[in-house]
Amino acid sequence: MSKVNETNSAVNDIKAERKAGIRRLLSNSITLLGLIFLVVFFGIVTKGNLLSAKNLSLIFKQGYALLLVTLAGVFVMSTGNLDFSLGATVGFSCVCATLTATYISPALSIPVAVLVGLAVGLINGISITKFKLPSFIACLCMLFILTAATQSLITGSSIMMPVSMIKWETNLLKGIVAVIYLAVMIVMFNYTKVGKQLKSLGVSIEAARQSGVNIDRMMILAYVISGVAAGIAGFFMMLRTGGAATTTGQTMTTDVIVAIVFGGMSISGGASSKISAAILGTLIVTILNNGMVLAGYGGDAQQLVKGILFLAIIAVSMKRDSNVIVK
């Protein structure tokens, strides 16, 4: 009898473990499932228009700059910080790239954009590490400064890039850059010391310090990566929009945060940070924006639907451990 009980108990344990495993798996895959749901939903509502070759190309174009910045945003977020100056950095880099292309040389526009982004990221990183400013304050002030600088550099409503640069905006160039960029980011985040140390900062700064991580250097590096990505995105934004405007990059910061959260990454960073969150999240955000207009939901309800979906996806996908303190 006791043997039967033991067997029953073992069977129950196995069943419980399977259930827990399925729950864990669902939790890990929920973002992917969310993406599938969106694709299916909009695919059906738009009668396949969402997945036409032309529309997929549009999704690639529309999500491109966001993907570049979001991938780098993961580096900053994995430390438990946010970079509120991202959008302004993209805008300012775009302006500098446009001015360089117009008045100096189109070929120099990309290194200028990258250098500008790098400088901004460096200043942010140094302010936070060496001057011990809260990241929110440092980045917010940088946002103010860059916004004013952008407005000062643009005399009219916008400035145009040279017409000869229109042909630079090709899917081939973007594809090549995207592949190289993705490869570098994935390798750096997942397979190098950089990614591991950044994640350790998100878990516990003190523990990271005790483990020999150079906190200041890693934080500065995270912001520099973010700045460089914003610079590259600024350059591609210039190609896409034909120039720079005072509104360029305006919504980028919030789009990045929304994308990363949609992608299932915790905003407090740490060990659960994953680079795939940037890719999935960007896809979700772009498909959502694209799908809603294709389906005819472009009016007042657009933002409401986005907000509800945002809540629904993170409610299901966000990992919740009762022992973890949620702030």
């Binding site: 011990k132 919030t254 407090s268 007042d300 409610a315 303190i325 949620v326 702030k327």
Partner: protein, 325 residues
């Protein structure tokens, strides 16, 4: 002896607390004595600061326990439209009750999202921002937004001062003299320790949303009464409504010589003086945010690096190291 010492300590604390706005005001008075040495200017600045002060007070509970909520602006808009709508049917009582009821319900909803879904407050804030902003637009488009003259009492003297004083007393008492206030400070100090002491941090955080919502109702009344108008916003632009109060709260939390509640007032008042002063000095509109930002960096930088600077000075004196040219 002890009394004299504690008296001098408290006078020192008071002086340190008000030093920041006094210094800023004094500097501006040197440049524009014709403006800043007038009583009416001081009163105007005080009135201007109060709506941001009350918003700051609504945020101080949450920020003390580590909650960051960017949906404050959207919540104000939605509560304001409801209040204005009610005022058209029930007069000023309708406005007051409408703002309070709407603000508390919205706050409870936001708090429940945070507490039940266990998602970070900043994410809760973003989702609330998206949802409440859209609802505010939809609501605005369905009513006629006319703000009666009676509502302006909340934004002008003496109404604005009465509301502010009542709110201050309530916030100060809640923050400093109630179990709730102590629990907030315990959680803000070290949440893990607070939890192990038996404090239900989730319940307290939810309560900070509710209490914050009530205070925000007063901020809504003051804001609508002060401006005389209210307009919906979209695309997350209402987030900028909470930047100035947040800056005030941050300055307030860094002023160690006084209670955070008073600190918020001092911080917001100082920011108001700075931004007004920029206009008086003829600085272009687009540069004003930059100057405010730099001021914030300098103040917080000074505060966070104060001991390092002191240490540096002490070392130089001790070693008699001449300053490098």
């Amino acid at each position: 002896m002890i009394n004299v010492k504690s008296k001098s300590i408290s006078i020192k604390a008071i002086l340190l607390t008000v030093l920041l706005p006094i210094v800023v005001y004094a500097v501006l008075s040197c440049f524009r004595p014709d403006i800043y040495l007038q009583k009416s200017t001081f009163i105007m600045l005080l009135t201007q600061a109060l709506s941001n002060v009350i918003i700051g007070w609504s945020m101080v509970f949450g920020m003390s326990v580590g909650l960051f909520d960017f949906s404050v602006g959207a919540r104000i808009l939605l509560a304001a439209f409801f209040g204005v709508h009610m005022s058209q049917r029930f007069g000023i009582a309708g406005f007051v009750i409408g703002c309070i009821v709407a603000s508390i319900i919205i706050a409870i909803l936001t708090g429940l999202i945070y507490a039940s879904l266990k998602i970070p407050s900043i994410i809760t804030g973003f989702s609330a921002l998206l949802i409440f902003e859209s609802l505010a637009v939809m609501y605005q488009n369905r009513i006629t937004v006319i703000i009666g003259d009676d509502i302006s009492i909340f934004g002008t003297s003496p109404g604005i001062y009465i509301v502010s004083v009542i709110t201050f007393i309530a916030v100060y008492a809640l923050f400093n003299n109630t179990k709730f206030g102590y629990q907030i400070k315990a959680i803000g100090g070290n949440e893990a320790v607070a939890k192990s002491m038996g404090i239900n941090s989730v319940k307290i955080k939810l309560l900070t949303y509710v209490v914050g919502g009530l205070i925000l109702a007063f901020a809504t009344m003051v804001k609508v009464g002060y401006a005389g108008t209210i307009t919906a916003r979209t695309n997350m632009s209402s987030m900028s409504m909470c930047f100035t109060p947040m800056m005030g709260v941050m300055i307030g939390l860094y002023i160690s010589s006084c209670n955070p509640v008073i600190g918020v007032f001092i911080g917001s008042f100082t920011i108001t003086i700075v931004s007004s002063g920029l206009v008086a000095l003829g600085i272009e509109s687009r540069l004003q945010n930059v100057v405010v930002g730099i001021f914030l960096i300098l103040f917080i930088g000074w505060k966070t690096n104060f001991y390092r600077i002191q240490e540096l000075i002490r070392k130089r004196r001790h070693n008699n190291i001449p300053l490098q040219e």
